[in-house]
């Protein structure tokens, strides 16, 4: 640092230390206010927050979800162990569940479908004409004869037999749609679980899946999540205490982390944001940054004390003075990297990005001000909290680092890193966008939910829906034979994809009606030959039906309709293939009176998310690098500095992506927050080490010696933080939520790469390339520190 800046900063620090009581009181007061606010923050999942804004699919979904079924569907499957579902026990359970579902909060009562719902109808011809009546509503069959009649009616109805009663007749399905926005996942989950529990037994298996259940489960595990969080923090305390052997070395980093967290959550409340339980891991990620900065200061403080500082104040002052630049650089760069995530047009990411930015910026006060001020109260006399001393071990590790980077091995380190970068960079292309496996990646593959999902998708056409809207150009367009035939062909084309279990549209309904009209003759199971005939068929289907029964197929004007496709899974690849096939088909087969609009339902909106996140992530990385380069250029007045610090960031990103690709963790809406916020994480520790080298060079010109010194001082802080954080984050792998376990490992990897590049790669690069901004040059030599800059006593 230039001597002039150095002196100005010293004066500022003196001022803060002089009024330390006032500073601490102000911080405590502010923390209390924020703590009050933070306590009120809501922890919940809002599905619409996950959907990209202004994406055409999401717009189609929002426009039509009320009629054609949105993304919040719950499927309940009743499966018999023996026989088939046509017995009183099962039918009664179906009726009970159907009725109980009406009372579940947020459920769309018009969109509950089962054998016992009013909308499940049988259409048949009688002497009076076409009659359509509910299959099993309002009452259950009274005797074996009526059960046999019901069974016949079901087998005869392609809208029921297949979609709602499995082909082998051993399972039946009940589906309920929830109103977007009105659904409270926690309540919905609890109520549906109760209903399902009540129906279990008597040789009937009950399985439940659907997004509301999934997010309800996540909330259900919130208690456990918080427990793990607490245990992690506990482990952190123990580890810090073990390694630092001092109470101030243990508590101050924790206070820093806590204060920052409180401020961030309070700020989030002020911004009217809520907290998604799935991103609680992110909180740990940022807390790790806060702790890391604080540990650096404490560690430096201890070094200053050991070097013979006269008082705690003087040691605190010296520590802050020396670490101010790399600390601020790390905070500002991190905050910038997190802020650019807001550019991804997904509301949840924006919110997390804003909270994260505030959170990281708060470290400026919590670590860079509060820690040194509190340190100034600590004694200079060494008092150890326990006799176990791991420092010799740390010293040996640091000695190894120093030995490696100052010997010929440094070339091996640089070459090794280059190879790792190249290999992981290529392997990272295998990263899957969207879910990489069937079932929900949030939960473990052997979780009840995922097993249920597999079972349901085996018995039925698929529990994940996508609707493609057929938008007519005029009223009645959907009665045109060309449009209906187009829809039929489209469905046939889409069903060639094995993951598409089936599809349904008006073009399936009308042939069934026509067959009934034509004495049940199978040769007449086809669409009407003219718009008029189709109109009559529609009329026959609707007559006697309730208003709204037709809604899931077409609107009353027969202008807009939907083709609903059922998917057996929602893996990224499945969705991409389906969307590509829809686009291909639509481009090749234009309809005269209508057009196909992509895409609604869960699979439709997931397609939108998947389309956005890859581009969004690359964009975020690019802007994060830009922020980083700008920060480095400003601080070190050198573009080479930007290049230099880009190395650990790029490396940590390619390695993380490779790990995700290797472990089959897809980049999806749930992993994205952690992945996105992790972009800038590879670099903090490097700032401390490299700046340590540079500052050391203010005192002499021996680069090798400067590196060894920096590793033994700043390196110690890096090592302590990395060791404690990596060890405690491993506890996340015990979570019942697979996502959190995965993300815990991901964070551990980041911290490890971050530490490894700081301890090995960066010093080795300094020694190999000797960049001008660190070691100086003939034209711009490093300014030597004024000899008369002793540590002042206060």
């Amino acid at each position: 640092m230039k001597n002039a800046t150095f002196r100005a900063l010293a004066r500022l620090i003196d001022l803060v230390l002089q009024y330390r009581v006032m500073v601490v009181s102000a911080i405590v007061g502010f923390t209390c206010v924020m703590g009050y606010l933070a306590a009120q923050i809501e922890v919940k999942t809002v599905f619409s927050d996950l959907l990209p804004r202004n994406h055409p699919y999401v717009e189609v979904n929002n426009r039509f979800k009320q009629t054609f079924g949105g993304s919040n569907m719950v499927s309940i499957m009743l499966e018999v162990e023996q026989g088939d579902v046509f017995n009183m026990t099962v039918l009664k359970k179906v009726q009970q569940i159907t009725q109980a579902l009406q009372k579940v909060e947020g459920v769309d009562t018009y969109q509950i479908a089962s054998l016992a719902s009013k909308k499940m109808k049988e259409v048949r011809a009688s002497t009076e004409g076409i009659e359509s009546r509910p299959l099993m509503w309002p009452g259950l069959p009274k005797d074996a004869g009526e059960i046999a009649t019901l069974r016949e009616a079901v087998l005869n109805n392609p809208l029921v037999y297949g979609p709602y009663v499995s082909i082998d007749m051993r399972a039946t399905l009940i589906t309920a749609d929830f109103i977007d926005g009105a659904v409270d996942y926690v309540k919905a989950y609890k109520q549906i679980e109760e209903i399902a529990d009540a129906a279990r037994g008597d040789g009937v298996l009950v399985r439940v899946v659907g997004e509301p259940i999934l997010y309800g489960l996540v909330n259900h595990y919130l208690g456990e999540t918080l427990q793990i969080f607490m245990v992690t923090v506990g482990a952190l305390v123990v580890l810090l205490l073990l390694i630092t052997r001092t109470w101030h070395g243990t508590l101050l980093p924790l206070i820093t982390g806590l204060v920052s967290a409180i401020w961030a959550l309070g700020a989030a409340k002020l911004m009217h944001f809520h907290l998604d339980p799935l991103v609680i891991v992110v909180a740990f990620l940022i807390t790790a940054q806060a702790i890391s900065n604080s540990v650096q200061l404490v560690s430096r403080f201890d070094d200053e004390v050991a070097a013979g500082a006269t008082s705690a104040g003087a040691a605190a002052r010296a520590a802050l003075l020396n670490l101010f630049k790399p600390g601020m650089l790390a905070i500002v760069a991190d905050a910038g990297c997190v802020l650019v995530v807001a550019l991804t047009p997904i509301p949840m990411l924006e919110k997390i990005s804003y909270i994260g930015t505030v959170w990281i910026l708060s470290i400026m006060l919590s670590a860079m001000v509060l820690t040194p001020v509190l340190l100034s109260w600590c004694g200079v006399r060494k008092r150890y909290a326990h006799p176990v001393n791991v420092y010799p071990l740390l010293q040996r590790i640091l000695g190894l680092c120093a030995a490696v980077v100052t010997s010929k091995l440094r070339f091996a380190v640089v070459i090794g890193a280059t190879v790792a970068f190249a290999v992981s960079g290529l392997y990272a292309f295998k990263l899957k966008v969207g879910d990489a496996n069937p079932g929900s990646p949030i939960l473990w593959p052997d979780s009840t939910y995922n097993k249920d999902a597999t079972a349901i998708n085996q018995k039925f056409q698929g529990s994940d829906r996508m609707f493609v809207v057929v938008q007519g150009k005029k009223e009645g367009a959907l009665k045109e034979p060309s449009v209906l035939e187009g829809m039929e062909r489209f469905q046939k084309y889409m069903e060639a994809q094995p993951e598409v279990g089936g599809s349904i549209s008006l073009a399936d309904i009308l042939p069934a009606v026509k067959r009934v009209v034509r004495e049940g003759n199978a040769r007449y199971q086809e669409l009407g030959g003219s718009a008029d005939e189709n109109g009559e068929l529609v009329y026959m289907f609707v007559s006697g039906a309730d208003p709204g029964d037709m809604d899931r197929f077409a609107d009353p004007q027969a202008k807009n309709g939907a083709v609903t496709l059922f998917f057996r899974d929602h893996q990224g690849e499945t969705i991409r293939t389906a969307i590509a096939r829809v686009k291909e088909y639509v481009a090749a087969h234009k309809l005269e009176d209508a057009e196909f609009l992509l895409a609604g339902g869960l699979v439709g909106v997931l397609a939108a998310v998947n389309e956005v996140i890859l581009a969004g992530q690359i964009e975020s990385i690019a802007f994060a690098l830009l922020v980083l380069v700008a920060c480095c250029m400003f601080t070190y007045r050198s573009t080479v500095a930007g290049m230099f610090f880009m190395v650990p960031v790029l490396l940590s990103n390619t390695l993380t992506f490779s790990y995700m690709a290797w472990k089959g963790i897809g980049m999806n809406i749930n992993t994205l927050p952690v992945v996105a916020l992790g972009i800038g994480l590879g670099v903090d520790y490097s700032f401390y080490i490299v700046d340590g080298i540079r500052e050391e060079l203010h005192h002499h010109k021996d680069v090798g010696r400067a590196i060894v010194k920096s590793i033994s001082t700043s390196g110690k802080g890096v090592l302590i933080t990395a060791l404690t954080l990596v060890t405690s984050v491993v506890l996340w792998s015990f979570s019942s939520l697979r996502l959190q376990a995965d993300m815990g490992v991901l964070i551990a990897i980041w911290l490890f790469i971050s530490a490894a590049s700081a301890l090995f790669l960066m010093p080795a690069m300094v020694y190999v390339f000797r960049p001008e901004f660190i070691v100086g040059s003939k034209r711009h030599p490093i300014e030597q520190a004024v000899a008369a800059e002793p540590i002042q006593a206060t």
């Binding site: 084309y493 003759n521 040769r523 086809e526 030959g529 590509a580």
Partner: protein, 338 residues
């Protein structure tokens, strides 16, 4: 050595410095370019539809000999198998309307008929199918059944009293009976003796190879869907709601058998040893040569789909309808499914 590099001159140093300074810009620029302009579009072209798709209905199937099978169905689809139904190939069809029936003179020459009075013929085993002109009605033209006989003769029947005849392997067709507001569902010939069955239980009989037809009293009013004779005297007709009619005097008089089922029966055949009929919901009814006692059963508990035709091959039966299936010693295998 470092000095040597330094001596190399300012030029080299300048290049290095420009290089390292512009590299960050290049990397960031590259990433931004990728973010904005590179779209990972998966190619969907890999996925080829199978010859037999889930949505296909096959109304007609024919076994012209050997291991060859030929089926026609919805949206003009025609498929052929050379190995008794194990593998199928889709043939180029000139039409997209539903085909209701297919019949073959031999492995090369065949005819298929369908909705809107559509008739297509082939002379080369189906490599090329071409549409031929047939007499049309102003009102309705759906053809429901076609049968081929020796010397290039073919008979097609359908809506609005359509009875069409060809004597030149389907190249030209003439109307054999006048239009009337009643559909003919099936036709059968044994030598010069012929029978027509249709809506409202109507039965016609010819004894001169179809030159002239005469009405026969029918014991039922329900539609008859199919008729079959094992010789010039013994025949069976089946129809809706499990209707079964039996004759043993060449169709002059028909006896109403108590319905063995309530399901619609769509097709009846003589399989060489007995009578077999199939219809809705996977039903099969059968009787011995005398056609006196009929019993009904499901072909398979796993499959309740409708069938419009059953054909006997050397060892198997082939079923057409909501799907194509092979029935071998009571084991049903639906084709084109996993």
């Amino acid at each position: 050595m470092l000095k040597a590099i330094n001596k190399l001159g300012k030029g080299a140093r300048a290049i290095t410095s420009v290089g390292t300074s512009s590299l960050p810009v290049a990397i960031i620029g590259g990433l931004l370019y990728a973010a904005f302009f590179v779209k990972a579009e998966p190619s969907a072209g890999e996925l080829k539809a199978r010859p037999l798709e889930r949505r296909d209905a096959f109304y007609g199937v024919v076994a012209p000999g050997g291991a060859t099978l030929w089926a026609a169905g919805s949206n003009g689809k025609i498929v052929r198998s050379e190995d008794g139904g194990q593998t199928w190939g889709v043939q180029d069809s000139p039409v997209a309307t539903h085909l209701q029936s297919i019949s073959a003179w031999d492995a090369q020459r065949a005819v298929a008929v369908g909705n809107r009075g559509l008739v297509v013929v082939t002379e080369d085993g189906g490599k090329t199918w071409k549409e031929v002109k047939v007499p049309h009605s102003e009102v309705a033209n759906k053809l429901l059944q076609v049968h081929t006989y020796a010397d290039g003769v073919a008979w097609a029947v359908g809506e609005l009293g359509a009875v069409l005849k060809s004597a030149d392997y389907g190249a030209t067709w003439t109307r054999a009976l006048d239009e009337k507001d009643q559909a003919w569902n099936d036709i059968a010939f044994v030598g010069q003796a012929g029978w027509l069955v249709g809506e409202f239980g109507q039965i016609l009989r010819s004894t001169d190879g179809g030159q002239s037809w005469a009405a026969v009293p029918s014991p039922v009013k329900t539609s008859l869907m199919s008729v079959s004779f094992r010789d010039a005297l013994h025949g069976v007709a089946v129809g809706l709601a499990g209707t079964v009619l039996v004759t043993s005097d060449g169709g002059a008089s028909w006896k109403d058998v108590p319905p063995p089922t309530r399901e619609h029966l769509n097709c009846v055949i003589w399989d060489g040893a007995g009578w077999v009929a199939v219809g809705d919901k996977g039903i099969r009814v059968s009787a011995g040569p005398e056609a006196d006692t009929w019993k009904a059963s499901r072909i398979s508990d796993q499959d309740l789909s409708w069938h419009t035709q059953i054909v006997k091959t050397a060892d198997d039966y082939v079923l057409a309808g909501a799907n194509l299936a092979l029935l071998h010693q009571d084991g049903l295998r639906i084709l084109g499914r996993d």
